[in-house]
């Protein structure tokens, strides 16, 4: 058996011994490590502020304008 396969098997056996919380911590640690190494994972989110789909808000604003025109000419 190759040494790297042996290490993998040993590692798997050790991981299997962990409880649920410990396994989650390992996963989290690995994800964080990968995120630091991979540009794709470390890329930032871009905020999109545009209210693209807000017809309800648009209708209320239209009502406000119409109401103001009625009251103030």
């Amino acid at each position: 058996m190759r040494i790297d396969q042996m290490l993998t098997d040993v590692l798997k056996q050790e991981l299997d011994k962990l409880n649920r919380a410990e396994k989650l911590r390992v996963v989290q640690m690995l994800v964080e490590q990968l995120a630091q190494e991979e540009e794709l994972l470390t890329s930032h989110e871009y905020e999109i502020w545009s209210p693209y789909d807000a017809p309800g808000a648009a209708a209320i604003l239209m009502d406000m304008l119409e109401e103001d025109r009625r009251n103030n000419g």
Binding site: I48, W49, P51, D53, A54, A58, I60, L61, M64, D68
Partner: protein
Amino acid sequence: MADVARFAYTAVRNSLGEIAMRPILPVTLSYRGAAIEAQGLLDTGADVNVLPYSLGISLGGDWDQARTGLRLSGNLAQYEARGILIDCIVGSLPPVQLAFAWTRAENVPLLLGQVNFFAEFNVCFFRATNSFEISPKLTP
């Protein structure tokens, strides 16, 4: 012939240091005697105008008295929004009344959207030459 105001696109650098050309319009917002110079992004995809919370407060807006019930979308959906009417002057064009969705969000830009900025002005984008033109809507 209607008055036309012409403006240049603005190079904007985001938090990542990336630069984009944006149609940002200098406007004067006026509310009950208070006036503030501001920079509004012409956002043809926005259903409504959006006013950042701090700008509304600086204008003297009363959050508690503003119209409730507005629901926004996208990143703004998580913030409460209310309605407020504000006068707006673009260059030397006649002032118009704009209705804004006044959001509790602080870091949102001033957005000029379909209701009702684009209902009050005709806008032509000339992105190839980094400029845009604005004129009042034609009234019959």
